[in-house]
Symmetry: C2
Subunit: 203 residues, 2 copies
DNA sequence: CAATGTTTTAAACAGTTGATTAATTTTTTG
DNA sequence: CAAAAAATTAATCAACTGTTTAAAACATTG
């Protein structure tokens, strides 16, 4: 995905610049001239390749949306036990958001501010439904604590994504150093995994 | 705070309208004309009372920031055990964000997008430091599982705030009905409290 | 090489933005 | 009530916005 090499292909170069700027400043905070400058091209070219700022944004958002669901897609419906699956899901999400620290804020903000632009973000992904069923099944079998499956999804998403959302406020509250923070994040992944597993399986 | 009665005081009416619009659409997505319309006044009046959009925004953000910390301020340094304090903190935060569903997204987004405008959001609040010390003390005394205090703060914030941040995506993933969702949120508060308490105290 | 198609550019357009102005209405006060 | 002060308005400003245009530069090909 995000290679450091600048692509010679102009269309791709615009798309990458747009992704970078949109992710950082959001749809409202981004101007076509911002994107053009980031891509090192003339303003008119963004409209030459993508017909409008809106269409370009739609494309970027849908890519990001896909990236978010694609990461866990296969894992969610893999035929393994929850005891294996949940720690792997957490690890996989931590990896995704560590690689892409703005992704969570971007998806949440734009979904909230511009729901009309987001055709993709409508139907429930089948892989998620599969996972929810698996949780329900585990509850029925008495393997895990009896909870509505949505809670498990909520727990995983919250405890992974919020780490990246709250980075600035955690810096303020704890006066932590940047190097120590990286260590903190990695420790938190372990802690969250352990906490959720204990909660679900030891009851 | 947010009375439903429209205040006759013009300054207050502008401020309330600004708060509403800024919270919903963010700094970049808001125009001075949006605010004027929401307040039912002429555009020029926003600059008559507050000298610029930026100054008005600063005021709104700082209010929101204060509101966020004020809610827990007293509770954080109350001389009670963590066994009592943590569930109360979670309950207090749930109450705050339920009353103000956009607060979390607003604070996180604007802090990320416009750090230069936010003078307030710099120093660590003493009440938070008090709480972190109390956690450290409890660890030393062997009362709770040995964890770095920042993790506890992170757990509480994540598991409360993300519920409100993820409302749209949870609707997508679970096809839940609006009435069922309210029940889900209330259940999740219980679940999260229980999970964190078990994790910290049973080890 | 000339003709043709593609990519890129500078310039411009109409609409919107935050902000100011100068005039008008409303309120206060001596 | 009249004069002064304060609040409110419509009109306007320059800067910026997304988008389009028409011309230039570049590449392709017969």
């Amino acid at each position: 995905m995000s290679e450091d090499t600048v692509p010679q292909n102009t269309e791709e170069r615009i798309k990458e610049a747009a992704r970078k700027v949109f992710m950082e400043k959001g749809f409202d905070g981004t101007t076509t001239r911002d994107i053009a400058e980031a891509a090192g091209i003339n303003v008119a070219l963004t409209n030459y390749y993508f017909r409008s700022k809106e269409k370009l944004f739609r494309m970027i958002f849908e890519d990001a949306h896909r990236e978010f669901f694609h990461e866990s897609h296969e894992l969610l419906q893999r035929p393994i036990s929850l005891r294996e699956k949940i720690p792997q899901l957490i690890a996989s999400d931590f990896r995704l958001f560590a690689k892409n620290p703005n992704l969570s804020l971007f998806l949440i903000t734009e979904r909230h501010r511009h729901p009309e632009l987001l055709a993709t973000a409508k139907e429930a992904p089948p892989a998620v439904l599969f996972f929810l069923n698996q949780v329900q099944e585990a509850v029925t079998q008495g393997e895990i604590r009896p909870v509505a499956p949505a809670h498990v999804l909520q727990l995983i998403m919250a405890n992974v994504q919020f780490v990246f959302l709250s980075k600035p406020i955690m810096f303020q509250c704890t006066n932590i150093s940047p190097t120590a923070y990286a260590e903190f994040v990695s420790q938190h992944q372990q802690l969250v995994t352990q906490m959720i597993m204990i909660y679900l399986f030891d009851f």
